[in-house]
Amino acid sequence: MIREPLIFEISDKGKKAFALPKLDVPEKKDVLAGFSVRKDIADFPQVSEVEVVRHFTRLSQQNYCVDLGFYPLGSCTMKYNPKVNEKVAGFREFALSHPLAPETTIQGNLEIIKLVEDYLCEIAGMDAFTLQPSAGAQGELTGMMLVRARLEESGNPRKYVLTPDSAHGTNPSSAHLCGYTVQEVKSNANGTVDLDDLALRMNEDVAALMLTNPNTLGVFEYDIKKIAAIVHAKGGFLYMDGANMNALTGVCRPGDMDVDVIHINLHKTFSTPHGGGGPGAGPVGVKKILEPYLPIPRVVRRGEGFGLSFDHPKSVGRVRSFYGNFLVIVKALAYILTLGPDGIREIAEIAVLNSNYIRKSLETLYSLKYTTPTLHECVFSDRIQKELGVSNLDIAKRLIDYGLHPPTMSFPLIVHGALMIEPTETESRRDLDMFIEAMTNIAREAKENPEILKSAPHHSYVRRLDETAAARHPIVKWIRESKS
């Protein structure tokens, strides 16, 4: 493959890919007088349009993506992103809407927000939703702020938040940003919350338990109602991290599990593309008791239409500008309307079928630390291969040679050398079998030819990269080399 230079390396003075129309107002000569103007922007690119197009087209070809193949990144729900969703979200009536436009001129947008709030309430079994949070982590922060506001009102915001030792890193980080000290709850031999440990740690200084269900092992917290009861008995709140909703849609609802507050990732369960890292959306759903604290503005029904309502004195305020990642919300609505009630249930059922098919097919080759039944994802480890000197990293990198994206690695932290596999519901039998076959070959290669794993990948655009050097001597932007 051609090595694609940085744009700065092909830039040259005077090249252009853009022209403005001639200025049609009378030009004022001294218009730049009176403030600090920059002479130039040193080293800013100057290239032609063809160069721009080839540059990004070539760069795009160095990416693996869902449109290309199987992407079993556990906890990330890399399902297919329907193309019609992109089409409708691109309608100019949505994209060109100014967020401060008069309400009468953006009724379609407000209706979309309200519809998605209502549908998420039904799917999650909650009483109200806010769509403002930009991503899962901001949803967590928002959710914990609601809890804190409610507790503060009753006199004591409390000091601690509990998270299981299997939790996503964002959970403790979000709790900390909300002013809480984090305490870990142990997992039991099944990989689920240890009820005795929870009961021991749960007291009137604890604001909430943040729990992912099914948890990061893919295991459903069978005792969720008991967990909720332990937390509620001490006046705490049960926060559910909805990152794994893809296992549950239409089958069971967090609201019915006595969850008080939940965030959902539209870029996971509701099919919006991840865009190489974002944008996503992290709507937060609550039970009635937390509704008064939701961020403002809220979308309300007004007569035949919709309006924005700011008069919520107990609200925690806003967590960002405007109303959230609106176009992501549009795509989620398109997805919900396309699938309907049966399709939404089918998401979860087939995701669970696919995951169990992979688990069953690989369980004699790779170690499962927890043999508890799992739903939409399963977590193997490198325990067996480790004895041959092969790590989860080597396995992951070798998968790249088979034309596949590796699973999530080294998470959850309670499984040493983890390989976390989430196939999602959209994959074909052929894709699942290709992955199983690759993993089967790799298990054999680990025995017969471990070197081929340790030096993988062999066929990618670049080979194994030195991440330690990158962190030790950070080069985080291009700098012109001085000519000597």
């Binding site: 890919a17 795009s60 396309t338």
Partner: protein
């Protein structure tokens, strides 16, 4: 319509291999009492033609895009070259995850590296992150970063900062022992330096300033920076209209320690407020406290240049509660669009576009200011927004304008009751002289 790829036969065979007779059996680990015994109450599934019709119906309820608008206030309409939509809609950019596996993510990683470089060039700082959610949350992150850097509790925040940025900062700091003190503005609409001097003390962590500020006025950054540094406070500059960076002196050159803001102007439509693009850059000595992802250059085992996510010991997936921020998913695809946009406009295009904004806004301010009873509220130099004082209630004026297909400027009454009948007008390179004259004529008619 569904997006399932299994046939009935596949399902049967897969169940057989697993050793269960039904999918229901796989849910045996969910207590029966928690299983939903009914269908979800959602509308029945739509086919693609029905779906498109449904969204055409919803889109039809938005009359705004057909109107002539002069709204800005943190969301701007600029020209977006065709290559931006064309290239950014490629599945290779749209459908991958965060580049955790660098060997098969060099496209995304190199784009972020170029993006970081462009942000550094524009802001005049050393290091930029890979994006944040938006300008408002970026300002909040900057405030928290300043507090981590010097452990001081007080932040000076101007009243001329975007009201939604102020609200967001307030939400973020509420539970963290950081407090804000508001600094006023002068009759020219600029930051009140005397008020800054009064409020700056040894407990001040940072002085935050927006430039151009919410009223469109360009601030004297150098002077404000000297004040801040004179009291060992950090100097944080936020930019809500990133296009201004194409012509205004880079804040980093004027002494800023941290520059953050909103880069929606770089290749993103208004999108009804989101997705947009938060950015942040800082001096290299503050690198360890910068929130968000960072891409760095390295080499592979063959010595070939490549890029990886780096310095992740700042981040939540490694440091958990000790991380610099809880951010995980960011706005990477928006940063891609900004990168394509900036590389397409290039050095001269960006500068010329910025100058067109200044020229057109200047013409508009002049033209509108000649209407009887209308005057510019502030004397300060401005980029593409300015405040008008009108002889009549703004909501009434805007209603009359709207009836004629014109969306006037933002009514500042709700945010700044002290300003009286004031309207924030935004004019960009997208407005023709004819558009501006139409606003003037319609306003004249309305006020008559």
């Amino acid at each position: 319509m569904s997006y399932i790829s299994l046939s009935e036969n596949d399902k049967r065979e897969m169940l057989a291999r697993i050793g269960v007779s039904s999918i229901d059996e796989l849910y045996g680990c969910v207590p029966d009492e928690l299983r939903l015994k009914r269908r979800l109450r959602l509308p029945v599934a739509l086919s693609e033609p029905e779906l498109v019709r449904q969204f055409e119906r919803l889109a039809g309820k938005n009359s705004f895009p057909g109107m002539l608008s002069f709204l800005g206030a943190g969301s701007y309409r600029h020209f977006i070259p065709s290559v931006v939509d064309y290239l950014s809609s490629r599945g290779e950019f749209l459908s991958p995850y965060t580049p955790y596996q660098p060997e098969i993510s060099q496209g995304t990683l190199q784009v972020i590296f170029e993006y970081q470089t462009l942000v550094c060039q524009l802001t005049g700082l050393d290091i930029a992150n890979a994006s944040l959610y938006d300008g408002a949350s970026a300002a909040a992150e900057a405030v928290l970063m300043a507090n981590r850097l010097n452990n001081k509790a007080k932040i000076l925040v101007p009243r001329s900062l975007h009201p939604q940025y102020r609200e967001t900062i307030r939400t973020y700091i509420k539970n963290l022992g950081v407090r804000i003190e508001e600094v006023g503005f002068t009759s020219a609409g600029a930051l009140d330096l005397a008020d800054v001097a009064r409020k700056l003390d040894k407990d001040t962590s940072a002085v935050l300033v927006q430039s151009p500020n919410f009223f469109g006025v360009i601030e004297d950054l150098e002077k404000i920076g000297e004040f801040a540094h004179g009291h060992q406070a950090l100097f944080v500059v936020t930019v809500a209209e990133a296009l201004s960076l194409g012509i205004l002196e880079a804040p980093g050159n004027a002494g800023a320690d941290v520059v953050c803001g909103e880069a929606q102007s770089f290749g993103l439509p208004s999108n009804f407020g989101g997705p947009v693009l938060g950015f942040m850059a800082c001096k290299k000595e503050h690198l360890r406290q910068l929130p968000g992802r960072i891409t760095g250059q390295t080499t592979d085992v063959d010595g070939k240049r490549g890029f990886v996510l780096t310095l992740s010991t700042r981040e939540q997936h490694i440091r958990r509660e000790k991380a610099t921020s809880n951010i995980c998913t960011n706005q990477a695809w928006c940063a891609l669009r900004a990168t394509i946009f900036l590389e397409t406009l290039g050095h001269d295009g960006l500068r010329e576009a910025a100058i067109h904004n200044i020229q057109k806004a200047d013409y508009a301010a002049d033209r509108l200011g000649r209407i009887a009873g209308v005057k510019r509220k502030f004397g300060g130099r401005f980029f593409n927004e300015f405040v008008l004082e009108l002889p009549r209630e703004i909501p009434k004026v805007n209603e009359a304008l709207l009836a004629k297909g014109v969306v006037g400027g933002l009514d500042l009454g709700r945010y700044y009751p002290e300003l009286g009948r004031a309207m924030l007008v935004c004019v960009t390179e997208m407005h023709s002289k004819e558009d501006i004259d139409r606003l003037a004529a319609t306003l004249e008619e309305t006020l008559r």
